[in-house]
Symmetry: C2
Subunit: 139 residues, 2 copies
DNA sequence: TTGACTATTGCGAATGAATTGCATTTACAG
DNA sequence: CTGTAAATGCAATTCATTCGCAATAGTCAA
């Protein structure tokens, strides 16, 4: 097993989860994914590694991994949720309204403003996410 | 009819939509709502005014009104979408993770930062929304 | 006003993402 | 190795939302 696989196993154990083929498969698929796959796409890719995986397991695994903080669920409007490996730094998303492409946005400054805004109201932020729908400008 | 009802009728006509009892009812309910009701709640309230309204009509009307820019759909994680009258100034939302209460946030500054961010990537913003989940700090 | 045209509605059935019950399998502690 | 609870696969279910279709009701022109 590669170093990465070992890391996933440790991460699972630290989260109090058993290390299963299915969980390792989904984690490695998400780690390698350049895009933000949804449950069906994850199932299709996972079956390339282990053709017995079921959709129910994909959903249950994704919930468990999200709860453990290992992955992030990205709920978009009118389409199935997409998933990504939990980013080291939190980031927001920009969806190209024409192509559906998802672009990751960094902005510490925005995060700081939001934290201040919440604090002013007497709240501490649990999670925050900005979703921008945008159209590519003609070059 | 009150001035408000007349305004709604004009708004509908300007959007190229027929002025129906159902649309007026939903618009006035949303205008008066202090909260952010979902489709079921809107149906229940609408039946107080017109007990023949159907859930299908609620959904179809909400889509039409949203498309016309008269209302805004607020998609939350794991629960039915909620709706609000289209605000004069765009704003974001903070959801209290303990009570489910939705608080509206103003931040021109954040909006400006997001527009800049998008422009830098060659995009023009179609819509943008920030959802913060937060916990009330002990006084 | 009246009639005609077509958007809108109500109803029930259908859809589709996500969840669940249950019997079987598997991880892993002892 | 063995026992036990956790995890899985499958099929059935849930629930928000959408759709087909016949009936109704806005709107527009005469």
């Amino acid at each position: 097993m590669s170093a990465e696989t070992t890391d996933f196993a440790r991460a699972l154990r630290e989260a109090g989860l058993r290390v299963t083929q299915q969980r390792l498969a989904l984690l490695s698929i998400l780690m390698d994914a350049a895009d933000h796959p949804n449950a069906d796409e994850l199932l299709a890719r996972a079956r390339g590694l282990d053709d017995s995986m079921s959709l129910a397991t994909v959903y249950r695994t994704l919930s468990a991994l999200e709860e453990a903080g290992l992955i992030r669920k990205l709920s978009l409007e009118g389409e199935p949720a997409r998933y990504e490996i939990a980013p080291v730094a939190e980031h927001d998303h920009l969806v190209d309204v024409e192509t559906g492409e998802v672009i990751e946005l960094e902005s510490d400054e925005i995060n700081r403003l939001r934290a201040e805004l919440a604090a002013k109201l007497g709240y501490e932020i649990v999670s925050q996410h900005t979703l921008i729908r945008a159209r590519k400008l003609r070059g």
